[in-house]
């Protein structure tokens, strides 16, 4: 099994990477010849290089450099204070940390998929032929093969878990359930041609623990579950998804919620903590970001899973976007469309790191614990650690953040007056 993976990755990586470099050069040359507006293919170096300083420091800096007056005698408000907010506002218009996390990452070189290239138009015959050849291979050969495998994998999962579910509860049932789950997930992995490198497997999650990972796509589940057995957590869906969920839970206890139960946080927390207390049950798999992020950053972790008090096993998943971008932009593509795109990419290449287990320390609350775990995952995966909520993909930012800024500035103004009355 492993040797075939090694040879596949060798064949894919060597010729494909050479083609990518050549293809990119051709595009750039072609664009120069025809004087087209070339969109930047890579994340532009930051237009603004900003060091993190506080509101107070920056405003004091603006006042200090403009005034020869003694700072103690400086008035509470200067007209130039407005420059601080104006500059921050304009900087965020030019480039901000959040909105770019909700669309696919831009690549340095073109990987012969039109979907990841904004500059695609006719450049040269050779390039188009190569792209056409790639298209033929991907849609004519790889896609049908993968779709067949996918149907096989899912079908077997549903059938075999139902069969195992008929057995009486006991060691035999758990053993068979594990084998069935692993086998079917591995078939699905083949169906996506996912080339996964697992690191630090000695830290794999154990029973009674909670496994948290950063979320990029629904494929994350398949990747993790093909290497270990987890109890899934989620909402019961209708349709094919619902069928799969219902048969899976026959073989081993997963935690599925009805739509109405999802809103009730106490109920959710109770069911999760009941599950982890039972040491015979598998570790829970949770994605605390709550939504798919584009794999360049890790956004705010919802604190629910960190309040339960179980041991947390963090896992970092990092995809290599050069062979196929795994990010699911749910506002642009539906699930089926997404899966088809995945199966017609070259391959899904990713790395999984199992990080050492963490527990909540004395005097640490759930939010701080969640941030600590998030920082560890971001560091390992080489992702940017952000405090912003992934829910900003769809929703508006809360007014409380603006009120915090206003409070800080007010303290600057009024604080000076207090100091003066004291002296």
């Amino acid at each position: 099994m492993t040797s075939s993976v090694a040879t596949t990755s060798f064949y894919i990586k060597l010729p494909l990477m050479n083609f990518y470099g050549w293809a990119t050069l051709r595009i750039e040359r072609g664009a120069k010849e025809k004087n087209h507006l070339l969109m930047p293919l890579w994340a532009a170096p930051a237009i603004i290089a900003r060091e993190p300083t506080s509101l107070e420091e920056e405003i004091k800096e603006i006042r200090r450099s403009g005034s020869n007056k003694d700072l103690d005698a400086a008035p509470e408000f200067e007209m130039s204070d407005i420059f601080y907010f104006a500059r921050r506002g304009v900087e965020s218009i030019m480039d901000d940390e959040v909105t770019k996390r909700f669309s696919a990452e831009e690549l340095e070189s073109w990987n012969l998929l039109t979907r990841s290239n904004y500059n695609f138009h006719y450049i040269s015959l050779r390039l188009t032929v190569l792209w056409g050849l790639g298209l033929l291979i991907r849609y004519g050969f790889l896609l049908p093969l993968r779709v067949t495998l996918a149907f096989t994998g899912v079908g077997l999962l549903v059938f075999l878990t139902s069969v195992v579910g008929l057995l009486p509860n006991g060691r035999m049932k758990n053993f068979l359930s594990e084998k069935v789950h692993l086998m079917c997930y591995r078939i699905c992995v083949r169906a996506l041609t996912a080339i996964i490198t697992y690191h630090d497997s000695e830290n794999k999650p154990k029973n009674g623990g909670i496994c948290v990972a950063n979320h990029t796509s629904p494929i994350d589940v398949i990747i993790l579950a093909s290497d270990g057995c987890y109890a899934m957590v989620g909402q019961i869906h209708g349709g094919l998804m619902g069928v799969i969920q219902r048969s899976m839970v026959k073989a081993c206890p997963h935690v599925w919620f009805e739509r109405s139960e999802v809103k009730d946080r106490h109920l959710v927390a109770k069911r999760l903590s009941d599950h982890v207390e039972d040491k015979s049950k598998l570790p829970i798999l949770i994605f605390p970001e709550g939504t798919c992020i584009n794999n360049t950053s890790v956004m705010m972790f919802k604190k629910g899973s960190f309040e339960i008090g179980a041991t947390v096993y963090p896992v970092a998943i990092k995809y290599d976007p050069r062979f196929g971008d795994a990010f699911w932009n749910s506002s642009k593509f539906g699930m089926v469309n997404y899966l088809l795109r995945m199966m017609s990419s070259w391959a899904i290449v990713c790395s999984v790191w199992y990080l050492p287990p963490m527990s909540r320390e004395e005097g640490e609350d759930a939010v701080q614990f969640a941030n600590r775990v998030k920082a560890a995952i971001a560091r390992q995966g080489g992702l940017v650690d952000l405090l912003w909520d992934g829910g900003l993909k769809r929703g508006k930012v809360k007014d409380t953040f603006k009120e915090e800024q206003q409070k800080l500035y007010s303290k600057m103004l009024v604080g000076t007056q207090e100091d003066r009355s004291r002296s």
Binding site: P75, I82, E91, D95
Partner: protein, 176 residues
């Protein structure tokens, strides 16, 4: 675009970057940005002066801004590129660019565009920056004191020239 670009002194790569940014903000894909498109930027939405800054992009009475307008407003804040610095390291920024930045800030105060910041306009901006944390009386006295200090011709409002003097223009360009 070529002619106006020369006036704005933007390099080719800066323009392409701004265009890429413009298209990523343009969710409706119709070539213009609306106020909602700007408000989708979380860091801008939490800025106390966010709404005023967004207003600065839209010409009088309009609800959509195209790329040319977008670029023109942002060009005031362009960073000085390295190749320009090396050409003339002792030259300071062109005066009209500095003035444009100050005009941008002045217009954040001067909502009715009468080229004067009245006491009311000053109070409005102050109120936006401090929220609910300071009382009306205190804010009023801060506004009065500011106008007293800056107003040199005694008309109880701040003109653009008085604004420049009050904001200490000489060293400001290094910060913007």
């Amino acid at each position: 675009l070529g002619g106006s670009c020369a006036n704005l002194l933007l390099s080719h790569s800066q323009i392409t970057r701004l265009y890429s940014r413009f298209t990523s903000l343009d969710k409706g894909e119709n070539g213009t940005l609306s106020r909602e498109d700007f408000q989708r930027i979380p860091e801008l939405a939490i800025n106390p002066l966010g709404d005023r800054i967004i207003n600065a992009f839209f010409p009088e009475g309009e609800d959509q801004v195209n790329f040319r307008g977008f670029m023109r407003t942002l060009a005031h804040f362009r960073p000085i590129e390295d190749n320009e610095k090396s050409k003339n390291p002792t030259a300071s920024e062109p005066l009209n660019s500095r003035t444009n930045k100050l005009l941008f800030a002045f217009r954040l105060y001067d909502l009715d565009r009468d080229d004067k910041i009245s006491r009311d306009e000053l109070l409005q901006v102050l109120r936006m920056m401090v929220g609910v944390n300071i009382s009306d009386e205190q804010l009023g006295s801060i506004a009065d004191r500011t106008i007293q200090e800056a107003d040199t011709n005694g008309d109880n409002s701040i003109s653009f020239n008085e604004f420049i003097k009050a904001s200490f223009v000489l060293t400001l360009h290094t910060l913007l």
